[in-house]
């Protein structure tokens, strides 16, 4: 039953752009692209949060860094998408390595604070570069792939492809030896250490992977909006990503995807209804945390 549903959904997603073009629903193609980008970012956070137990309140730093790399490199005359992609993902991963090496020596509320602090540092640093837009942000033109032109439709398929590939990789990761150990560490760290696992190393690898994937999501976001702003790096964005993961279901495989989809749709709907839409988002989040902490994926599981 679930297979059938998934295949139908995939088919719809693949067929959407031509349908949208024919029926004048291009706006929704853009919305879907945005949802898929957030699904990628949220899934990367779910990896370290849900599977690794690391409550990172600074994930926006990698997301934003990926986006800014696109804008800055394009501004500096680098137009090859291949180079930009490798650079952005590499830099995000490197940043995650640096931050992880220091932060993962802490635990609990200290870890939350220190990840937040590092993300703030990156935020302030980026804002201080007036030549790259400062507080106002920066245009991010779309680079060249050489094989095809990067327009709204090709971006849609590219994003879909990247998301599916990333999810597949995550699926294999979660069920691999590495995934087992990561989850064991989340469940009982002292036990994992007593079994002989170098806990720090496992957490760090997961942290870097998650950062790199978030960076890739940032790249796609920059391509989508063709504009980057410091709000991508702000702690509210980190909170936004955390919201998606808990909404979808922390530690549930589809948690990031579900959360991104539902939150984005809710935001769209609410934004049309009232300027006080953040109130609605806040209330929904509060209700979920208090009464449905397993998130939507958790609720669906119980029903199926």
């Amino acid at each position: 039953m679930r297979w059938f549903f998934s295949v139908v959904l995939l088919g719809l997603l693949l067929a959407f752009p031509p349908i949208a073009a024919a029926t004048g629903l291009e706006f929704y193609q853009g919305l879907l692209t945005k949802i898929m980008v957030y699904a990628l970012a949220a899934s990367s956070l779910n990896l370290i949060l849900g599977y690794g137990g690391m409550v990172s309140f600074g994930h926006a730093a990698y997301f934003g860094l990926g986006a800014y790399t696109v804008a800055i490199l394009m501004r500096e005359g680098v137009t090859s998408a291949w180079v930009i992609w490798v650079a952005a993902v590499g830099l995000s991963g490197l940043l995650a390595l640096l931050i992880g090496v220091i932060s993962l020596r802490t635990r609990g509320v200290y870890f939350i604070m220190i990840t937040l602090a590092f993300a703030q540092m990156i935020y302030y640093l980026v804002v201080s570069f007036k030549q790259y837009g400062g507080e106002d942000g920066l245009r991010a033109r779309r680079p060249e792939f050489g094989l095809f032109e990067l327009n709204d439709t090709t971006l849609y398929y590219l994003t879909l492809g990247v998301l599916l590939a990333a999810l597949y990789l995550m699926h294999r990761l979660v069920h691999s030896r590495f995934g087992r150990v990561l989850q064991a560490i989340r469940e009982n760290e002292s036990r994992a250490l007593a079994l002989g696992y170098p806990v720090f190393r496992f957490q760090l690898v997961a942290f870097v992977l998650a950062g790199a994937i978030a960076g890739l999501a940032g790249v796609l976001m920059a391509h989508y909006t063709q504009y980057v702003s410091p709000s991508l790096l702000a702690w509210q964005q980190s909170g936004h990503l955390l919201m998606m993961v808990i909404l979808g279901g922390v530690g549930q495989f589809w948690g990031g995807v579900l959360g991104a989809a539902v939150l984005s749709l809710v935001e769209e709907v609410l934004q049309d209804l009232t300027i006080h839409w953040q109130l609605g988002v806040g209330v929904i989040l509060l209700l979920i945390v208090l009464f449905a902490p397993q998130g939507l994926a958790g609720l669906l599981r119980r029903k199926v």
């Binding site: 691999s176 590495f178 469940e187 009982n188 036990r191 007593a194 079994l195 170098p198």
Partner: protein
């Protein structure tokens, strides 16, 4: 040559000297019991030996190698495995999953990201073998939360066994057990002693005097006596500090 040698090991927490200049050794093939009143520093000592805590002074030698500064996870690979005084298992997982994790740790690198771990049949086989050793083969697929206390304590030992250690550090394996369960545990330890050296921390004096070849007594962080069971039983210091308050021993 001793298997494990502690030389002048000390550890303080702020003003409190929890372990004070401890020296003891465990010979290969022996069961060495560590006894002492509550709060004497026995678990702290285990934590120092396993590397969970860093010593304030002194050295730890294992198989002749100075492991005082060796990271905790590497000590397991050298052949040192421990159980916890307060049951410390993966409670939401099955006995099988717990043991497989333990076996996996000694079966090559776990930095493998692609192949499903479930395909590695040898992990399951090895886990089952350990389960049989500790008498939990029939409970292999049961979630730990559903096991009885005695079964959980047995699994604690199983996790340590799975890493094929040379020295087993058992921290009060009989904690919270009734008569029947304790008896089973004593039999298990006796069986294990045929192939492993054991450092046994215990309060159950009956078990200690039945199993141990040598006994060290820890009081206020110091080893006040170390010797054969007969010597310890006869030692007046020990009586004063510990055994006397406990009443008769077996």
């Amino acid at each position: 040559m001793s298997l494990l040698e502690l030389v002048g090991l000390s550890r303080h927490f702020g003003g409190l000297l929890a372990v004070n200049n401890c020296s003891l050794s465990v010979a290969p093939g022996e069961i060495h019991a560590l006894i002492g009143p509550n709060g004497a520093g026995k678990t702290t000592l285990i934590n120092l030996i396993t590397g969970v805590l860093k010593p304030s002074g002194g050295r730890v030698r294992f198989q002749g190698e100075d492991i005082t500064h060796l990271p905790a996870h590497l000590r397991v690979h050298r052949g040192l495995a421990r159980t916890f005084q307060i049951t410390n298992l993966f409670k939401n997982q099955t006995v099988r999953a717990n043991l497989e994790l333990a076996v996996q740790a000694r079966s090559g690198s776990s930095f493998r990201f692609w192949q499903p771990a479930a395909r590695e049949k040898h992990l399951t086989e090895a886990a089952l073998a350990v389960a049989e050793q500790i008498g939990l083969a029939r409970r292999f697929e049961v979630v730990v939360g559903r096991l009885s206390h005695g079964e959980q304590r047995a699994l604690e030992v199983g996790l340590a066994l799975a890493s094929r250690p040379k020295l087993l550090l058992l921290d009060e394996p009989m904690a919270g057990m009734g008569l029947e369960e304790s008896e089973k545990m004593v039999e298990l330890i006796a069986r294990l002693a045929q192939q492993h050296s054991i450092l046994l921390v215990e309060h159950d004096m009956g078990a200690v005097f039945r199993l141990a070849q040598r006994i060290s007594v820890l009081v206020y962080g110091q080893v006040i006596a170390s010797g054969s069971p007969a010597e310890i039983r006869a030692n007046p210091e020990v009586h004063k500090a510990y055994l006397g308050e406990e009443g008769d021993t077996a």
